[in-house]
Amino acid sequence: MTLALLLLWVVSGLLILQERTVFRMVIYLGVFSLITTIIFLFQGAPDVALANASVSGFSTIFLIVCFEKYYSAKDSAKKTKPNMPKVRLAGVCRGVAVLLFSVLMCVMFIHFLPDSEVSTYLKHQYATLFYSDVGGENAVTAIYLAYRLYDTVFEALMLVVSVIAVVHLSFFDEMSVSSGRQSEIRHSATAIRTIRVVCPIIILFGVYLIANGHLSPGGGFQGGVAVAVFFVCRFMIFNIYDLPVGTVLKDEKIVFLGIILVAVFVIFLGIHQYFPYQHTALLQTLYLLMMNTLIGVKVALGFMMLFYRYVAVDRQ
C-alpha cells in the first residue's frame, strides 16, 4: 500500500516533468502535493499533512488566479522572437549529460545511505517530558512553541520579510491605489455558487485548527493558511480589491511584535514562576492558545497580503 502510494507519487512527479503547458502543470503540481499529503499521513505526521494540505490548496488557487491574469495566450502570440542561434545537437548533448549526471548522483546517494539507525535520544526526551514541561497533548506543537521557539520566531520573521519583498517588488508605488475597484477576472457562476456554500466551512475549519492546535493535529500555521484561503474565496465571490495594503502590512508587523513579546515573557523570562503552583496547567494552556492564535493571525494576514498583492496589480 505504501509502496503503491510512493510509486504514484513518482509518476505524478514525472507528469510535472513532461508537461509543457503551464495550466496543466499547475494542476499536476496540486495532485503531486495531495499525494505528498497522504504520504505524510502514512508517516505518522498529521500536523505536517494538514500544513501541506492547506498550503497546497492555497498555492494551487493562487497560481491559477495568477496565471489567469498574467499568462494569457495573447501574450505568447504577440511576443517578439529574438535572434537565437540554432543549437539543437548541443541541446540534445546537454540533455543527455544532465540526465546522466542526475542518474549518477541518484545511484551514488542511494548506495551511500548510512546503515545505522536514527538516534532516538531526543525523541524519547521530548515524548516523555513535553506534557509536564509545556502542557497540551500535541508533542509537535509543544516542540515548535517551546523547545524550538527560536525556529518559529525566525520562520515568522522570514514570512514578514517575504511579504515585504513581494509588496515592494510589485509594480506600482502607491500602496492602495486599486482599493475599491472591480477586478476584470470573471469566474463561472457555478464556481461562485460552490464557493459561497464552502466559504463558512473553511473559516470554521481554520478557527478550529487554531483553537485546538495544542490538543489535536493543527496549530497556528495550518489554521492561518486556512483562514487565508477564506479571504481568497471572498475575493473570488465579490471580485473587488477592498484591502488597504498599508494597514494590513502594519497589522502583520504588530502581530509579529506580539509573538516576540509573548515568547520573551513566557519562555525566556519564565513568568509562570511568579504564580502559585496550582495555576501552572492553566498558564501553560493559555500560553499555547495565545501563541497559536497570534501565529495564526500573522500567517493569515501574510498570505492574504501575498494573494491580494498578486491579483490587485493591474494589467497594462
Binding site: 503540481l29 522570514m158 514570512l159
Partner: protein
Amino acid sequence: MRMMEIIPIIVFFMGMFGLMFSKNIIKSVACLVLMEMAVIVFILGLSYRAGVLPPIGRGLQYNLDGIADPLPQALMITAIIIGLAVTAIDFTMIIHLVRKHKSTDWNEVKALSRESFDKC
C-alpha cells in the same frame, strides 16, 4: 526495505534534472517545489516504520517505539510555510520577466536581456 528513503532521493534527482534541463522558467520553479517536497518526505521517512502512530496524546512515554519522531515534524512544518513564501517571491520575479520580455523561456529571456544590454 527502506523505500521511504530511496524513493524521495529519486524524486529529488528528478526535480534536479528538471531544474537543470527545462527551458520554461515556471517549470523550473515547479521542479524546485518537487525537490523541496522530496527533502521533506525524506527527513520524515528517516525514522519511518510500518504502522507508526502520530505523537499526540498523554501516555506517549509508555509507547515510545510505536510513535513517530516529533522533532523533524515540527521542523518540517516550518519548512513548508517558508517554501510557500519562497515560491511567492519566485513568482513575483517571474511576473516581472514576463511583463518585460513577454516570454517564459530561459534562452529567449537570456538573449533578449543580452540584446537590451548591448543597446545601452
